[in-house]
């Protein structure tokens, strides 16, 4: 198609009305490791595979789920280095908001500002879009919330969502299993089962990462021991 002529420059639209670089960025996301999030009635859970390139890598040093504020956490699919940059910027924005208004930043505001940063990189010269999609989980005055932010800068609120490899299978599984009145523990079990669906090899507390936030409004990443407990319950 004539698209290929327009695929190198980010700031030029193709004749079909697409920005081809963003499509490519989404492809990069789609080849990243699976991650998913589920919003329960009393909390949110986000999870991801933590497949390391070799058994020699120190898996305790790799942390894919990060905390942005005490009550907001984030996970990604795609390029890790891009994720680190976004996390740093988001943390700074959350802190600036807090300094100005003396209130913890609402989840929607933080998502909006992160999405604005990602959009900036789709309209500036000499830069490329971020090769990550984020799943932001938070609990504020509006209750538990789960947002997905794409490389284009668009964001959506989801009840349950998945990204990365195996996304269609994961989403179908979630659609079947999701109920509106799920509790947080049920949501964790569902997340583990969904990850298990497309998992190659033996799933354990060391090769997946789970982050939860409940009514206490404190985001935390589960320890491998806790994940193993949940895994035992699932089987």
């Amino acid at each position: 198609m004539g698209d290929s002529q327009y695929s190198f420059s980010l700031t030029t639209f193709s004749p079909s009305g697409k920005l081809v670089q963003i499509e490519h960025a989404l492809t990069a996301v789609g080849s990243g490791q699976t991650s998913l999030g589920i919003k329960a009635a009393n909390g949110v859970v986000i999870a991801t595979e933590k497949k390391l390139p070799s058994i020699l890598v120190d898996e305790a040093s790799v942390q894919k789920i990060q905390c942005l504020t005490p009550n907001i956490g984030v996970v990604y699919s795609g390029m890790g280095p891009d994720f680190r940059v976004l996390v740093r910027k988001s943390r700074k924005q959350a802190e600036q908001y807090h300094r100005l208004y003396k209130e913890p930043i609402p989840v929607t505001q933080l998502v909006r500002e992160t999405a604005a940063v990602m959009q900036e990189f789709t309209q500036s010269g000499g830069v490329r879009p971020f090769g990550v999609s984020l799943l932001v989980a938070g609990y504020d005055d509006n209750g538990p919330q789960l947002y997905q932010v794409d490389p284009s800068g668009s964001y959506f609120s989801w009840k349950a969502s998945a990204m990365g490899k195996n996304v269609s299978n994961a989403k179908t599984f979630l659609e079947k299993r999701y109920t509106d009145d799920m509790e947080l523990d049920d949501a964790v079990h569902t997340a583990i089962l969904t990850l298990k669906e497309g998992f190659e090899g033996q799933i354990s507390g060391k090769n997946i990462e789970i982050g939860i936030i409940g009514t206490d409004k404190k985001f935390r990443v589960l320890t491998p021991a806790e994940i193993d407990d949940y895994l035992a319950e699932v089987e």
């Binding site: 905390c67 943390r91 802190e95 300094r99």
Partner: protein, 344 residues
């Protein structure tokens, strides 16, 4: 210079002109500016209360004219530079100070803040009076500011400065904690604060007592408005610092227990409260140990409000209430029924 052409009506005017001539500094190779002349004249007016002199002086000012004939290249009217601070008037200020015309001095705000290291950690103490010159504007303000879960900071000086600086560094420490995943260290807070204060060359008037417990142990530091710091086992700052330091110097010893430490801090603050006009009201104490912190707000209240009239106070009513029902004199609005006013 055109002041020679001024209308010399009285001997006082001649005195002013003589002063002006003296002030024309040969080292500064530019004309005396209108601002400088005004300062000198005002000083003379202030020192002489007679009205006559003042009216003569106003006549003198009006007849002053600065001719631009001599130096067209250095125009007297200054266009403000495009950006940055203009240091032109600093030389003038220096010259005036040398001749004895000093700028107004700043008001020192009053406070007593103290800190000491005891066997398990650090105890900070502060009074709770905030002053605006001779007036107490807040009888129970909070001078012990949060920096990190394990670090607190007492602030003396301009309240806005201490609050803004501690807030800003607290924010920076929070970001640092996210990035490193570790507890903040007291020296980190210390360095961030002193760098900021040094950059502003003492204009941010914040004198701080910083204390906390981190992985390396308990620490106590003082930070001065110009950016210098001290590390001490016990420290005091503020206008009541001498009174508090007297107590510390006589009673401090190493290895105090928690209760002994709190008692000593309270005594030191009370000494500041009762002997310094700038400090007063209640005592706030904050105990920081490895396990956590205890913020004892209003730990001691040695200045309660006594002798209030139990019957309350009745103030005689001065304004008469004329009518309790308000009847409009005329209906102001006429309602037009039907028709669409926005049709066209």
């Amino acid at each position: 210079m055109a002041v020679e052409q001024a209308n010399l009506c009285t001997p006082q005017d001649a005195a002013v002109v003589r002063t002006l001539r003296v002030f024309r500094d040969p080292h500064v190779d530019r004309e005396l500016e209108p601002a400088t002349v005004l300062i000198i004249i005002t000083k003379h007016v202030m020192s002489s209360p007679s009205l006559n002199f003042q009216t003569q002086i106003s006549g003198l000012i009006l007849s002053l004219s600065f001719s631009g004939q001599r130096n067209m290249s250095n125009s007297v009217i200054e266009v403000p530079p495009k950006g940055g601070f203009s240091f032109d008037l600093c030389k003038r200020n220096e010259m005036l100070a040398k001749k004895g015309v000093n700028p107004p001095s700043f008001r020192k705000t009053g406070t007593t803040i103290v800190g000491l290291v005891f066997q398990d950690g650090v105890i900070l103490g502060a009074d709770t009076r905030a002053t605006e010159g001779p007036i107490v504007c807040d009888k129970n303000c909070e001078k012990i500011h949060y920096m990190a879960p394990n670090i607190y900071c007492c602030g003396a000086g301009t309240a806005a400065d201490t609050e803004a600086v501690t807030d800003m560094v607290s924010s920076q420490l929070q970001l640092h904690r996210y990035h490193t995943g570790r507890e903040s260290r007291v020296v980190t807070a210390l360095t961030l604060l002193k760098r900021h204060l040094f950059n502003y060359q003492g204009h941010v008037s914040a004198a701080l007592v910083l204390g906390g417990v981190d992985v390396t142990g308990p620490h106590l530091h003082t930070i001065y408005p110009h950016g210098s710091t001290d590390t001490l086992p016990f420290a005091t700052m503020g206008s009541g610092s001498l009174a508090a330091m007297a107590v510390f110097e006589s009673k401090y010893k190493e290895g105090l227990t928690r209760n002994e430490g709190i008692e000593l801090v309270t005594e030191a603050i009370c000494s500041g409260i009762f002997n310094d006009l700038g400090s007063g009201s209640n005592v706030d104490v904050c105990v920081i140990t490895k396990g956590g912190k205890e913020y004892l707000r209003n730990h001691l209240q040695p200045n309660p409000r006594t002798y209030t009239n139990s019957k309350g106070y009745s103030f005689p009513k001065k304004t008469e209430v004329l009518l309790t029902k308000i009847i409009p004199l005329k209906e102001k609005v006429e309602i037009i029924e039907g028709g669409d006013a926005m049709e066209e």
